[in-house]
Symmetry: C3
Subunit: 316 residues, 3 copies
């Protein structure tokens, strides 16, 4: 595996899923595989789960880890080709990626959505340019439009918690005080479609996701109807794709609460965290035994560890 | 040991002290005990000794260490129960503590005093809430009102440097340009009371500490009288407990200088660092052979290592 | 080796160079030498190559690494002797250096040029004071006036890439939007003079470096003439030494471009990075096969590793 940026980079999902489950059973089984290998983690923005679970995954394999907060510990990065760099940016992505590749055996990088330039965001140009100039395998720790390690962990979590063969999974839009990227939602749809589930997406009109992801998926503007018979409720806020990066008002009633959960088939509740309590979902929902939010975070370690293992072994 | 937040969490001080001294003699004796174990260090505010000595302690035991600057590398944390999180805070302590517990085997956390809300500070609510939601052992790296690793290191230092069986130890208030917490002073009193010393506290009127800590201790408003026959002078600034968080003016003459040290029984000088030179104490005092300030910092490693060892072994 | 701050600290350059080349061949040959040893890296300002290559070098030797961003993770440091510290600085260099020495076996420190006080900068007072109060070996990760690890890596790179016995090496001043220190240039001259090369320095009038470094070196104000027959072009910006820290206007034509490179003897192009593309040198030059910029960065690891090895073995 030379890069892990979306489900398209995964040769065989079932086998990767099995590997993650094996690692969860025996986290230290391959703890000498990473000896004298270094994982570099590069962050352009805050992170808690990603930062810690990636380090944990690497250490479980016996790797060294170095962490850089770019634009903070290091230099401000230029992404434009041909730019005359006489302004604020200090180092070009060409050098940054080329140099870091020499110090690391695998690189994880967290990039970001502008939420202003849709075309550029959906080209994932920061990540794409980094990969183009890197000479070692690169893992996306969330890009402008996808969050594959989160979605992989979500699939592990659903697999572990499903009671019926083909559960009904509902991705529901939920309120949030700030405009957020579509990355988690895009990625969740992309991954969950490849597993044996009935997927329904529910959101207010205007919050339609990029059809590239949703074209074969049932979409409902009626949240309560969508919740009926659901086995898993996955809540997530995102900003508009069409009116790119904007948000619509007066939608606080889309919060996931106990009353709505009662419409489901005793559904498990999921969210990628961090979650704004009593805005996205109520305390009752988040603290209920049916809430899987901590388990999702736990599975981030084994998702990352499975990907790292494939890269260290140079397997597909 | 499930938590280390005050002397009340210590089952047997003498045995913990012996363990620290054994580790100082042979720091790497147990360097495989921590294999595949991770210490997570969480900071809400700056730290040098705590940050480095805790890492050193963990590495001496063969543990991995991950460091997070919360509110900076990660997300802004909400501590209120039932809060509708539609403002600045991004992640609730419930999730933060629950998630981090899954990636770490022991967590060290540095919290802070508001110095505005005495009741909340003295409930140590940030630390207490973190522990309530954590599922692994937690070490206080200084809380709003206590600094137990510092005090443990101070006890080690006094034990190593005392010449007579029951030395006179004087905790003296000293000037500082900013309002500081009472944590080091409270904690020092709490720990040193449990050892075989004569303890005297001296400070200007108005700087009385919480009586919960000082009720059996001799207090003097006359610094020079208190210094007479002292074997150890421990200097520290703190802000008012009664008029909570405030400071009083025109007290620069409380600086510890050579003239005052001459009143003592060749006393050793102690301070927890960082120290404002020529404000808290003069260069002459800090640079004298009787100054133990570097040795106190050195003992921070073995204090932390003893606590980590107890936690890794699941001993009291 | 007790300190590594300039070429003057190197007993035998040829042997140090051989050691670095041996380590580049077999990076993990001595991977148990650093067991239970800790490298502390202290930064006052941003860094990418230095931060990562130093960590890599230490990990290749099996050392632990702790990284501190001083003034950020820690406390604001006071460097003045006798200062009454009742203002912004929180910890004196005496305590900082003394304390950190107790937690680390080797310390790397990156200090900075004020570019306002030439005398103080050229005394390298921050580094010098740190060393004076440290009790373990100290490596300069760039000081106010020198950057020895960079220059050592540059010498390795020239040695690996020279075709003739005694190549012509040209250090050329190049434009930059900000005032930069003279450290890389001073240090390059200091190191390259000790190897078997013809060195020429070319820069606009007014950019003369400190004669302490350049006294035996040919200096030309005619960049194109200097480039004739060059085997290596080393581009670097620096601010004025005489009119200390100032910069002169209208010198954009000093950019290194393809036309100028054609005047050389198929010269290799070098720069220490980060480089402002199309300001210091054009894309064509930086991206040409003759560009050694990534290899220079790669050699930073082995330069640092050779120095660490000498220190761990307590050799000259």
């Amino acid at each position: 595996m030379k890069k892990f940026t979306s489900i398209k980079d995964v040769h065989n999902i079932k086998s990767l899923l099995s590997l993650a489950q094996e690692l969860k059973e025996s986290p230290f089984k391959y703890d000498s595989l990473g000896k004298n290998k270094t994982l570099g983690l590069l962050f352009f923005n805050p992170s808690l789960r990603t930062r810690l679970s990636s380090q944990k995954a690497a250490m479980n394999l016996g790797m060294n880890v170095v962490v850089m907060n770019l634009n903070n510990d290091g230099w401000t990065i230029e992404f434009g080709d041909g730019t005359v760099m006489n302004q604020g940016t200090q180092e070009h992505i060409k050098e940054a990626a080329g140099v870091i590749s020499q110090y690391c055996d695998v690189i994880g990088i967290r990039t970001f959505a502008s939420l202003t330039n849709r075309e550029e965001d959906y080209q994932d140009s920061v990540l794409t340019k980094f990969i183009a100039h890197a000479s070692v395998p690169v893992i996306s720790l969330e890009s402008a439009t996808l969050h594959p390690l989160q979605s992989f962990a979500d699939i592990i979590t659903i697999t572990e918690n499903k009671i019926i063969e083909k559960p009904k999974v509902v991705l529901t839009w939920a309120p949030h005080p700030r405009a957020l990227p579509q990355s988690v939602s895009n990625s969740f749809v992309e991954w969950v479609k490849e597993t044996n589930v009935d997927l329904v997406i529910t959101h207010p009109k205007g919050y339609e996701l990029n059809e590239e992801f949703t074209k074969d998926v049932e979409i409902s503007y009626d949240q309560e109807k969508a919740f009926e018979n659901a086995d898993f409720i996955y809540a997530k806020n995102w900003s508009c794709y069409r009116d790119y990066g904007n948000t619509l008002k007066n939608l606080d009633h889309w919060v996931v609460n106990r009353e709505k959960m009662k419409l489901t088939n005793n559904a498990k509740f999921m969210h990628c965290l961090p979650v704004r309590r009593n805005v996205v979902a109520t305390d009752e929902v988040l603290d209920a035994p049916s809430s899987l939010i901590l388990e999702q975070a736990n599975n981030r370690t084994y998702a990352a560890q499975a990907v790292l293992l494939k890269m260290l072994r140079n397997e597909d």
